[in-house]
Symmetry: D2
Subunit: 306 residues, 4 copies
Amino acid sequence: MILDDGGDATHWLLKKYPAMFNMVKGIVEESVTGVHRLYQLSKSGKLTVPAMNVNDSVTKTKFDNLYSCRESILDALKRTTDVMFGGKQVLICGYGEVGKGCSQALKGLGAIVSVTEIDPICALQACMDGFRVVKLEEVVRSIDVLITCTGNKNVVTRSHLDRLKNGCIVCNMGHSNTEIDVASLRTPELTWEKVRSQVEHIIWPDGKRIIMLAEGRLVNLSCSSVPSFVVSITATTQALALIELFNAPTGRYKQDVYLLPKKMDEYVASLHLPNFDAHLTELSDDQAKYLGLNKAGPFKPNYYRY
Amino acid sequence: MILDDGGDATHWLLKKYPAMFNMVKGIVEESVTGVHRLYQLSKSGKLTVPAMNVNDSVTKTKFDNLYSCRESILDALKRTTDVMFGGKQVLICGYGEVGKGCSQALKGLGAIVSVTEIDPICALQACMDGFRVVKLEEVVRSIDVLITCTGNKNVVTRSHLDRLKNGCIVCNMGHSNTEIDVASLRTPELTWEKVRSQVEHIIWPDGKRIIMLAEGRLVNLSCSSVPSFVVSITATTQALALIELFNAPTGRYKQDVYLLPKKMDEYVASLHLPNFDAHLTELSDDQAKYLGLNKAGPFKPNYYRY
Amino acid sequence: MILDDGGDATHWLLKKYPAMFNMVKGIVEESVTGVHRLYQLSKSGKLTVPAMNVNDSVTKTKFDNLYSCRESILDALKRTTDVMFGGKQVLICGYGEVGKGCSQALKGLGAIVSVTEIDPICALQACMDGFRVVKLEEVVRSIDVLITCTGNKNVVTRSHLDRLKNGCIVCNMGHSNTEIDVASLRTPELTWEKVRSQVEHIIWPDGKRIIMLAEGRLVNLSCSSVPSFVVSITATTQALALIELFNAPTGRYKQDVYLLPKKMDEYVASLHLPNFDAHLTELSDDQAKYLGLNKAGPFKPNYYRY
Amino acid sequence: MILDDGGDATHWLLKKYPAMFNMVKGIVEESVTGVHRLYQLSKSGKLTVPAMNVNDSVTKTKFDNLYSCRESILDALKRTTDVMFGGKQVLICGYGEVGKGCSQALKGLGAIVSVTEIDPICALQACMDGFRVVKLEEVVRSIDVLITCTGNKNVVTRSHLDRLKNGCIVCNMGHSNTEIDVASLRTPELTWEKVRSQVEHIIWPDGKRIIMLAEGRLVNLSCSSVPSFVVSITATTQALALIELFNAPTGRYKQDVYLLPKKMDEYVASLHLPNFDAHLTELSDDQAKYLGLNKAGPFKPNYYRY
């Protein structure tokens, strides 16, 4: 079996030892990128073993993204810059789970947060949650902090960086290091000054400085730490997915990419509830029948959004 | 075509005029109950025309449930009781979209909110959002307000109601009028006293009173009003679904229940953004290619949870 | 003794029956205006009896203003207009206790709130609490809701009202009916249309409408109700002030205006704690000595701000 | 002139060089303790020069306490323990400015916060802000994090520490190192294990551990940093107080302790507004007259609480 994070092990085995790859009982993949690569393999007919996409399980998504990033954005900014959040104008590019977490945390501490989005549904959510939805161009000259969490590339270009105001903090909470075009800042007229681990001042000829964190890499990994509780959720999910693929009767999983069965997602959650002294209510027989549910779950249809 | 809310028109036509039912070009259904009945028809092979479940479109779900109930719970409680929210101990049964909305609103106004849940995933969300997850039995004697939003029946029984403290407000934000067992209160030893439209005091022999709103029916409908913005979202979604079913080339929709195509869900959202002066960012060609997306959407996989 | 609200009884007695006025044992005054008039009497040497300013007691200030208005602004807007708060752009003029309450409530429900202020300290508080501090002129064309809570007059003039956008809601949470220059709207080219109790549309020749609540009078009184809990706090404070003035040994209070003794303020608070099942911690002898406090209070110096 | 923080310089000069002390033009003191000592000197008639209490200026109080601690509690806990805040049960002892800041921040990040108080007014504020007011005894066995901010001593005793649950984090945001009776933990049966700078595990014979930060000293100083913005506010206030005492005409300040004149407090605030691009509204002549205010301030009576 393969427990992968990014798809490199999967692709290495497939390329180097295709025979052995075909004998793999199952693949469990936990990253966005790895999952993307699995779906591509599947499309092109090269995925010859069952694979489980645990990246999109509910508990994993919410804990690795929404709940964990809600805290790590604060931690990363404080550890590196000691900035005061109150009253700061912050732009958050992308209002997915990570963007939602960052926005909520910073708003809760008195920052004035705006959001950019490409997806009208997420944009409408931002409105309802009390954030202005703007284009980066409109606010680039006035913001104090710029945070990317889009999963996209070149969201912040040199042209934007040129227009940021003196002292603006720039960081990436999204994926890999492509969201901010940091390479475009490696030009002779700009001076890079390392002021502390993971913190660089980039100085324009007129004296303007921006504060770049982790050279545009992920600050939640570079400048913060992952709480053990989040690690526990992720590891439990991976372990259960491995067990499921290993124990599943022949034919349950074919040569395709699967989401974690909802019942296991619920099981991961239930294992972590005692930590909060949370007490679940049980359905009576009568209620279960009324709802058409098994008393032990799963409790929701697959398309349920939580 | 049928535009239905609850499934009564659909079932009436099916029963009374089965021949005419078979000529229907499509059904658009917007309620939980109606959708449930459609899936049952489909399972039993009796659904002979395509149907669209708009109840589970993102915009409809969030606006009719999360965002709208977040406001209507406050409105319903104020209009009927003038209760002050600050410091009140509130129990919310059910942490789905409606429960999430109610909890957030009441917490925001200084109430101390606890939650009951049957689903461990929703329970873990409640923990992360700062709510204690308890059983009704544990807090029944201390709460000031009890709100049901479970979609279930007999969540609050006579035995619970007997133990509520004097002056407790009881109301239902869930579905139909089954969540609170109001019928169990129609016994000779209890006195019902109507104090105002939609507000009744139920008086125990020892003088204890509870304040029952709308006789256990939905307070968001009985004691509040639906903002025109929410009506606009819902009506737009229904109209687009009707147009889609009407215009779809033969074969796109079979005799089954469909979710609204994501692109139309996004279109509904985009039509409502100008209301907030929200400005969407557009993908560059390069970015669209990088993400593997069409620049016009849809922007998310079907299983995305928002 | 005189229990006054606004100062009318006090001034009437002083003018009509000056002899009887001199025999009054004490005056308790609970309004801003009445207190203002008392201080003027005192300055001009006409205050011949002790008076107690209960308007500025902590519990009264916070409950009548901050906590009560936090809820009544929502109530007043919903009962009159059914407006959805999420995503709305709201301007709140004045960031005193009332403005703080209104801002917090509306932000909590997803509105995007800006603030105007004349006092740099309150303005800085608004920044730290996450609100943009602007001038009315800067945002007058884009806001959806305009709320005054300044205690000042003509904060919103005809010139502002002319520039508001179509559909803007205008209301007053401040004092009397002077904050919005409603009189300036009584001109022939504007049409007033009463759409419901306390709600008028004012229509410009080009068809633009603004929605004026309670003709510019206080919406927290006209369009909402005061929770019994707030009434209890206020009434208790007044009663204790009367008792104090009546029982005080000769010489404790002279011909001047006094704030409620802090110990009585604390006593009012302590009487209302059981309502929330709140349990106070008691100082040990050792701790009281360390802090230089009496174990029964008062617990704070007079200049403490809470 | 003396610029003091804690009163040591003042008392040293007074004791060692009393003649020189009498020639001092003024003292500016910024700490609670130093102010306390000044008031004691004044009471006992030993204060022979004017002193200014800048600790109780509005901007200093709010920024050093409320706004700064709101951020530093998060920073201190994250840097030392990487704890996840979501769902954690936190007890905050003391609901003064520091306690208010800590509670707000942790609640905003999904912690379930309770509060202890000795003062019924602050306790009622905690209720209205949505926190349960409890005694430490009632929750000592269930909390995950215990934070003191009382200004008192021995608020957390050995007896409490014995009953905390395994893994509980204990820290002090109050004053000096007396709030938690750390000395009582220096007994042979307990093992102290340093796990990292400022973090010690204290291990009971049954294996239970508590996590003590900074050995009970102030974590906002030991485990976090003070934002430069807060330093700027404080330093500006001190400098202005020195200038005021130096320039004041003879007789304005006598041998007593004074609060910073409100106009200077407002001036400090106004100097920091441009940082947030905040735009103050100016009173018209007519409005200033109506309010009985000078257009340049001060804008509030001395007893105003902000």
